[in-house]
């Protein structure tokens, strides 16, 4: 546990100190995606369920918080809470359908459901179609903290990210997390031990969806924008990539992966279609030769899981 604590402290120190030298908006983006990837990793890394449609929770929650903040004039904390609730409900509905199949089918079903949500967001009046919801007010947190100031916004995002991250770390090491791992390793056996595996999987799915929603709802306040990009299937692919690069089934992997992929997207942004090509190449390399990911490889080298 010692080395995990050190790694965790290093991560916290990085996000607390980094805004002194790195553009804060970039770091906030990294944290939103890191939380998103951690939520995704809870499902694949510990439950063995590859969701290829996690963008539906991330993106839809983004719309909900943007709409709540802009049209209904909600305070940011309620806008984000609303986003989490909406994502959890969507996760419950999608989960009930998707957990009926495993493995490859699970991936295809979540992808298809996410595409349905994408079309819904494209057509529904409240999402603004192709334009998205623009100029979302960041508002006053708890009524008196002005989020238009970068420092305050950064502190909120950091708190949301760390809160979500610690919750996931707690879940992984809880009895619930152990049962999830048992299901991943051998579902029939977990079933025969008396665990209602479907309920565990569904709960994990809803939890993962809610946390993805937390990330998405926060992101749309940070960027004051909710758009179709965040519900598109390519976003689902991106979160898979982040987790894969960082290390599937490692606590810190998704954070490192998010940092790498967001940074790469930033540097390559002007190259247009090449970003997709590079992402594809990283996918192929990771799958063929680098399946443990950065953190997994590091942990293997240190002979301690990180």
């Amino acid at each position: 546990m010692m080395h995990q604590r050190i790694a965790l402290l290093a991560m916290v120190a990085f996000f607390v100190l980094a805004p002194a030298v790195i553009y804060p908006l970039f770091l906030m983006k990294v944290m939103c995606f890191a939380l998103f990837a951690c939520a995704f990793n809870l499902l694949i890394g510990y439950g063995g369920l590859l969701s290829f449609g996690h963008a539906m929770f991330f993106g839809f929650a983004g719309y909900v918080s943007a709409h709540a903040a802009k049209v209904w004039g909600f305070n940011p904390e309620f806008a984000i809470l609303g986003a989490v609730g909406a994502a959890a409900l969507l996760g419950l509905a999608a989960g009930l359908i998707a957990i009926r199949r495993q493995g490859i089918y699970f991936a295809m079903i979540t992808l298809a459901l996410a595409q349905m949500v994408y079309f819904f967001c494209l057509q529904a009046p409240f999402t603004g179609g192709e334009d998205g919801i623009q100029a979302v007010p960041r508002g006053m947190l708890f009524g008196f903290i002005d989020l238009r100031q970068v420092f305050n916004m950064y502190a909120l995002v950091l708190a949301v990210f760390l809160g979500g991250f610690l919750l996931i770390a707690r879940v992984i090491h809880s009895p619930f997390g152990q049962v999830l791992k048992a299901i991943r390793e051998n579902e029939p056996r977990a079933l025969s031990l008396g665990y209602d595996t479907d309920r565990y999987k569904l709960l994990a799915f809803v939890l993962s969806a809610a946390l993805a929603g937390l990330a998405g709802g926060t992101k749309s306040l940070v960027f004051q924008l909710a758009s179709l990009t965040d519900v598109h299937w390519s976003m689902s692919g991106e979160v898979v990539l982040m987790t894969l690069v960082g290390g599937l089934g490692t606590v810190l992997g998704p954070v490192v992966g998010a940092l790498v992929i967001v940074a790469m997207a930033n540097y390559l942004a002007q190259l247009g279609a090449w970003v997709t090509v590079v992402q594809g190449i990283i996918f192929v390399i990771c799958v063929l030769t680098f399946r443990r990911g950065i953190v997994g490889e590091l942990g293997h080298w240190l002979k301690k899981p990180l």
Binding site: L50, F52, I97, A98, R100, R101, G103, I104, Y105, A107, M108, I109, L111, A112, L113, Q115, M116, F119, F120, L122, Q123, W233, G237, V240, L244, G272, A273, W274, V275, T276, V277, Q279, G280, I281, I282, F283, V284, C286, V287, L288, R291
Partner: protein, 295 residues
């Protein structure tokens, strides 16, 4: 003008035709996916990109080399299928011992690379592909106008699907294939070269995708993204049909195309999502899919 349920028959039959056309492509693509899945246990995410490659090869053959549509129907699947063979030998073959999800991730990555490269080269706008001279024009059926090319696509796709079904279910080669799907180790022990069979099966599945791409070129425009969204719909079709049976894939493909077409007439708002809704309902009632068996 005659009407059915308050809808002009012209519009109804027009959408039915579009539904059948879309269904032809769903059937061809889900058939290829099912064939590949049967032997390789991999869901080929690159399928949409390979369909797009088929259309582009046909486009180049016509515009660079003056090779007609009819030759493209033969040449494009062979060329694209050959790239499939290379992909299988150099990459997919390394993954068979791992969790099948890695195959999905690898083929997803390949799809991103291929689509990205084509988009970089040709932008997102579509390139037109002319309908071959022999199939221009159409027939007036009295209740609707049927363009010749569209009739050809439906007939040709049905023929290809049924031909594939015949080869797999009724010939000796197909028997080997089915046996290898059941138990590869045993079939290998009988002296059949299973790894080569796997390679050729992947190549064949990819060739089917490319063939669909060539047939699609004159209907939809040739564009780098043409397969990207389509493949997700085809995944839903595969989930609905279940991957157990070849005939199931064909029936589901055409059937869903028609249902989608009808939705466009009666409730256009849902036409994009109807297949996904049907998928959700089928999963609630019959998780293994309409024609599938749980493995």
């Amino acid at each position: 003008m005659t009407e059915i349920f308050g809808v002009p028959t012209q519009a109804l039959f027009g959408q039915l035709l579009i539904g059948l056309i879309n269904g032809s492509f769903y059937a061809l693509l889900s058939l290829g996916l099912a064939v590949i899945f049967g032997l390789l246990n991999i869901i080929n995410f690159t399928h949409g990109a390979q369909y797009m490659m088929g259309a582009f090869v046909a486009y180049f053959l016509l515009n660079q080399f003056g090779v007609s549509y009819w030759w493209a129907l033969l040449v494009a699947p062979i060329l694209v299928g050959a790239t499939g063979v290379v992909i299988e030998r150099t990459m997919l073959a390394r993954l068979y011992k791992l969790d099948h999800l890695y195959g999905l991730l690898l083929t997803f990555g390949l799809a991103l690379i291929i689509q990205g490269l084509f988009r970089h080269e040709y932008g997102s706008a579509g390139l037109p592909y002319q309908i071959p001279a022999q199939l221009q024009g159409g027939q007036n059926l009295g209740f609707m106008f049927l363009p010749n090319y569209r009739a050809w696509v439906i007939v040709a796709s049905l023929a290809v699907c049924l031909g594939t079904w015949f080869v797999i279910e009724r010939t000796k080669l197909g028997a080997y294939l089915r046996a290898a799907t059941e138990n590869p180790a045993l079939v290998q022990a009988f002296g059949v070269n299973v790894p080569r069979m796997i390679t050729l099966t992947y190549g064949f599945g990819v060739a089917l995708a490319a063939l669909a791409g060539v047939m699609a070129a004159p209907i939809y425009q040739v564009s780098p993204q043409m397969g990207a969204d389509l493949i997700i719909v085809v995944f839903a079709v595969v989930v609905i049909g279940g991957m157990g049976s070849i005939l199931g894939a064909i029936v589901t493909g055409f059937g869903l195309g028609v249902i989608e077409g009808l939705t466009k007439v009666f409730y256009p708002e849902a036409s994009n999502t109807v297949i996904f809704i049907i998928m959700a309902i089928v999963l609630m009632m019959r998780p293994a899919g309409l024609f599938g068996t749980v493995r």
